[in-house]
């Protein structure tokens, strides 16, 4: 809202330095974003709030300044040159939609010499950033910006039958507005009509046909009050926002309507017109003033400071409230009609606090009276996930929850995406059903900028329809492509691979103690055929990982192999892992033996575990893959594995012979179940302890 300090002085004397005024206005909640110098005047661009339509005019701002500086508002008279003829003899006003138009005031000013406004009025209009049009239009703008009460002026000669009817539009009616647009009116829109057709869209914009022109002689001044919701709906539906609709939809001052009409009439008669006698004021259900109880005790209870009684009475009085003592420490406060925002004790306490000064309220620490002892497992788990993945060298990203519907369909999550009705752009018109495409775009972005590898993860929600219900699911997504970070001068760069990603997931599941978990070969739309695993916990799939489909990567302009994974954390976190228990640290040394053997390419490594699990081998503590290779030195249909087996007895030191026996047992079973062939001469049978 533009506020001219010169204009403010019509209503209140302001003689403090400008910067001090601005600072003090800020501290009562009126912040000037900018100050524009205009030949001796200063025009503030004041931030206003949706609940304070009274500050959308100079009078309201002057009232705030008066309360702030402890000054009274100036009295101003609005003399009127009146005709002997009563308004009711010339014009007729009927309201047929009382609930949408609580009050309608009007009068006629005859023989107005339409022409340029006097200088003082032009200056006022220009200060508001508007172009002066003619004295009649300028006067209506003057009243609006002075008082926040919109008024409208009609060419009375164009009002058929001199009849003003406030009614809802009829089916099929249109109105050509002041800007020349033809508005299609809907049946719930309120219009001002004459005896036959709409002449204005009530509270929003006037019609061209009844607008003021140089040929206008008689002017009908309308000063009314309209239902905020109706005005807002109408303006929204037609895509219009005018200075009038902006005020009406926030709530105009129903008590001020007659005064605004008389102000306009006074100005027009000062320019040569003559007003009809007596105002038409149709006000079927006069507003009952709101009365609010205010307790001194409550002010202290909410603000945490004792505000003097006299201050409360004084400041509310200056703001236009009528304050009456009810009991000791309690008042009945009558709310003026221009304060549509005030209706409860808390609202009054805010007024007291604003003018008492937030800076004078003490700062105290908020006491803790009890603790919420519920445990937030989810946050703890997310913390572990983050820590583990950062430790594995993955960087964290945050992508948009919005997605391009085409990209989403191509990714193939198989989920029904949630559409946004009014998206920012068509490329962000659905919510993502998977984190993978976003992560792939991160890879593309960074590879395009010269990074040689991208290894990133994101924790975030995906959304989808499940029948009629929308679902929101927390996911973890990972993408790994290109060179791994951390190459130094002692070791060269290494390329990521599937097992880097798998290892990260293994570390993650271990850190979360969701053990034992398993992987199973299972194809998925994200991945190349035969190049994907499902991650299972308690037999249920909770995620997938694999080599991303080449076509997906290519669509994102990534030409390197991309490894990706996605875990459903909502699903995983619903499961309860076994409580963790420590195992005693071994007291006796163990023995390990490395065994190198050839394995048929068609046999999966995890078969070793399956075979061994069936045997009763109490001394076998565990085994790990130490080396795997294939090449010219071994048959083409084989791979060479070196597996380290660890043996230990809980109560004593092992003897070489007993380890030999178990080892032979293992070799025998692997040989018969998996057709392994020990690599002659390559068996590293060196005994190690650990």
């Amino acid at each position: 809202m533009k506020i001219s300090l010169d204009w403010i002085r019509e209503f209140v004397t302001v003689d403090i330095p400008r910067q001090e005024l601005l600072d003090r206005l800020t501290m009562i909640g009126l912040v000037a974003d900018t100050v524009e110098e205009r030949d001796g005047d200063a025009v503030l661009d004041l931030e206003t709030y949706a609940n304070r339509p009274d500050t959308l005019g100079h009078l309201g701002v002057a009232r705030e300044i008066g309360a702030m500086l402890e000054l009274s508002l100036k009295e101003k008279s609005w003399p009127l040159a009146e005709l002997p003829q009563a308004t009711t003899e010339i014009a007729d006003v009927q309201i047929s939609s009382e609930n949408l138009c609580p009050r309608y005031c009007g009068l006629v000013v005859r023989d107005v010499p339409v022409g340029p406004s006097p200088d003082w009025l032009r200056r006022r209009v220009e200060a508001m950033g508007l172009r002066p049009i003619n004295n009649v239009v300028d006067v209506s703008n003057y009243v609006l910006f002075a008082t926040a009460q919109p008024i409208h002026t009609f060419d009375f000669g164009k009002i058929g039958g001199g009849k003003i009817v406030v009614r809802k539009a009829k089916r099929g009616e249109t109105l050509k507005d002041l800007d020349g647009r033809t508005l299609e009116l809907a049946a719930d829109m309120l219009v001002i009509a004459d005896e036959s057709r709409p002449v204005a869209l009530a509270g929003v914009i006037g019609g061209e046909a009844s607008g003021i022109t140089d040929a206008t002689r008689d002017v009908f001044i309308e000063s009314a009050n309209f239902d905020p919701v109706s005005i807002r709906k109408t303006a929204k539906k037609l895509g219009l926002s005018t200075d009038a609709s902006y005020r009406f939809e926030r709530g105009a001052d129903v008590g001020f309507a007659p005064q605004a009409a008389l102000m306009a009439a006074s100005l027009l008669t000062q320019m040569g017109g003559q007003a009809s006698r007596g105002l038409i004021d149709v006000y079927p259900k006069p507003h009952k003033p709101k009365s609010v109880r205010l307790r001194l005790r409550r002010i202290a209870e909410l603000l945490g400071v004792d505000v003097p009684e006299s201050f409360v009475v004084e400041v509310l009085g200056r703001l236009g409230f009528r304050v009456e003592a009810a009991h000791k420490g309690s008042w009945r406060v009558e709310v003026p009609t221009f304060r549509v925002d005030v209706g409860r004790e808390a609202d009054l306490i805010e007024e007291v606090a604003r003018f008492y000064g937030y800076d004078r309220i003490p700062s105290e620490f908020s006491p803790v009276r009890s603790f919420d002892l519920s445990v937030n497992r989810k946050r703890e788990r997310l913390g572990r996930i983050r820590q583990t993945l950062l430790g594995q060298g993955f960087d964290e990203v945050i992508n948009w929850s919005f997605a391009d519907p085409e990209r989403e369909a191509a990714a193939g999550s198989g989920l029904q995406p949630v559409d946004v009705q009014n998206p920012i752009s068509s490329r962000a018109s659905v919510l993502r059903t998977t984190l993978v495409p976003g992560l792939l775009e991160n890879a593309a972005w960074n590879l395009n900028r010269g990074l040689e590898g991208v290894h990133v993860f994101e924790l975030g929600n995906v959304f989808y329809w499940e029948g009629e219900k929308h679902r929101e699911e927390l996911r973890l997504g990972l993408v790994s492509t290109g060179l791994l970070p951390g190459a130094g001068w002692t070791s060269g760069p290494a390329e990521t691979d599937f097992y880097v990603l798998k290892g990260a997931l293994e570390a993650l599941m271990e850190a979360l103690r969701f053990e034992p978990f398993a992987f199973e070969e299972r194809d998925h739309a994200y991945f190349e055929e035969g190049r994907a695993l499902a991650l299972l916990y308690k037999g249920q799939p909770v995620g997938c990982l694999g080599i991303l489909r080449k076509s997906l990567a290519a669509a994102a302009s990534v030409d390197r192999t991309v490894f990706a994974a996605e875990i459903d954390l909502t699903g995983l976190f619903e499961k309860t892992p076994k409580p963790f228990q420590y195992a005693p640290v071994p007291r006796f040394p163990g023995v390990s033996r490395d065994l190198s053997f050839l394995l048929d390419r068609g046999v999966a490594y995890q078969e070793i575990g399956k075979v061994l699990a069936k045997l009763n081998l109490p001394l076998l503590e565990g085994f790990e893959l130490r080396d795997r290779f294939s090449g010219p030195s071994i048959p083409a249909d084989k791979v060479s594995l070196t597996v380290r087996f660890r043996f230990r007895h809980p109560q004593r030191t092992l003897v070489a012979e007993e380890v030999d026996r178990v080892e032979q047992d293992i070799v025998g079973h692997l040989r018969s179940a998996m057709n392994i062939q020990l690599r002659e001469g390559k068996i590293d049978n060196r005994t190690r302890a650990n």
Binding site: T26, M27, V31, Y49, A50, R52, P228, K233, R250, L302, L303, G304, R344, A346, I349, E350, A353, R354, Y358, D359, I361, P362, E364, F365, S366, R369, S374, N376, K378, R379, L390, G393, F394, E396, V397, I398, N399, S401, V418, V420, Q421, I424, L431, W445, N446, R449, V456, G460, F463, L484, P485, G486, G488, W489, P589, T653, V655, A656, R688, A689
Partner: protein, 350 residues
């Protein structure tokens, strides 16, 4: 037989005693030769003697000697391993022995957490320390939780500042984290002392300081006797914890439908200190708005069946993105969502 058993035990003890004295490679080799030497090693000699043991005790004796050999071997290997770590074989001051200690260190690469997550955790930690707990809620919300329960009447212009992305007529992307306040108050009785971090969505045309998605964190305290003074004291402490002891803070009146009275919290511009009339951060005012706050509107309490005569509350909310921008001097909000690793990694280990 008993004699051999004693000798094995004696040798074991002797070995243990000697092993403790080993301090360098030379003494280690001497010990190895003394016990395992191919000709005169103590253990080697025991195997020689085994030949003279009568058949019935041979098996047991063999086992004992084998055990000794294995444990001696293991121990010697272990000492060797330790020695090679502690004492590089090259020492002295000869040119050949010179180590270039100025070569760069070898770092394990640790990933960088997203700056917004780091900043959010910083904020959370301040409040966790003051006895707050963390609550979360859905990102797709109903009109009731996002607006109506928070005292935004339908069709009220107050909704204009919370431009909304709709899913269906009654379903929307939450425009703030405040609906979680309602959800928590519906299920928990006061005292309530929570913070609520999360993603929020607005129908904003992207510009340097506005995006259709950003991170917010808000707090809520509902208790008997909660006052505006508590709001001030707690938020001032929070701001000092984040921006330093000396930062200046001011509270000024504002409007939010769900608080009454409402306050905007400004902090002194750390970029220009109010000295630069054309400062991009504070526009020369010297103040930067970082928080919205206020006493919980009594209507909001009524909406969740909390008696506003008995309980009062205060709440605050801030944009994590914008506060982080201010703290780190970032001028473009979109950097947070471009996920350029050259940006993100600045916030981790280099």
């Amino acid at each position: 037989m008993a004699d051999l058993k004693d000798r094995v035990e004696g040798l074991r003890k002797a070995f243990e005693a000697e092993a403790l004295k080993v301090g360098d490679a030379k003494s280690l080799e001497e010990l190895r030769t003394a016990f395992l030497g191919r000709k005169k090693g103590h253990v080697t000699l025991l195997f020689e003697d085994l030949k003279t043991v009568p058949a019935e005790g041979k098996r047991e004796a063999g086992r004992l000697i084998n055990e000794l050999k294995e444990s001696v071997t293991v121990r010697l290997d272990a000492i060797e391993g330790q020695l090679s770590l502690a004492w590089p074989s090259v020492s002295g001051t000869s040119a050949e022995a010179k180590l270039d200690l100025t070569l760069p260190g070898r770092k394990k690469y640790v990933g960088a957490a997203h700056p917004l997550v780091l900043f959010q955790q910083e904020i959370e930690n301040v409040f966790l320390g003051m006895g707050f707990t963390i609550e979360e809620g859905p990102e797709i919300e109903t009109d009731y939780y996002n607006f109506e329960a928070l005292n935004f009447p339908p069709h009220h212009p107050a909704r204009d500042s919370w431009d909304t992305l709709y899913i269906k007529d009654d379903l929307l992307l939450r425009t703030h984290t405040s609906p979680v306040q309602i959800r928590v108050m519906e299920k928990k009785k006061p005292p309530i002392r929570i913070i609520i971090p999360g993603r929020v969505f607005r129908r904003e045309t992207p510009d340097p300081t506005h995006l259709p998605m950003f991170m917010q964190i808000e707090g809520l305290v509902v208790d008997e006797g909660a006052t505006f003074a508590h709001l001030k004291g707690t938020l001032e402490y929070f701001i000092r914890a984040l921006f330093g002891e000396k930062i200046k803070v001011r509270f000024r009146p504002s409007f939010f439908p769900f608080t009454e009275p409402s306050a905007e919290v400004d902090i002194e511009c750390i970029v220009c200190g109010g000295q630069d009339k054309s400062c991009r951060v504070c526009s020369g005012t010297g103040w930067k708005e970082i928080l919205g706050s206020g006493m919980v509107d009594p209507q909001v309490l009524k909406n969740v069946n909390i008696d506003p005569e008995k309980y009062s509350g205060w709440a605050f909310g801030l944009g994590i993105d914008r506060t982080a921008m201010f703290a780190y001097g970032i001028t473009e909000m979109r950097h947070f969502y471009e996920n350029d690793l050259r940006f993100i990694r600045q916030f981790g280990a280099k």
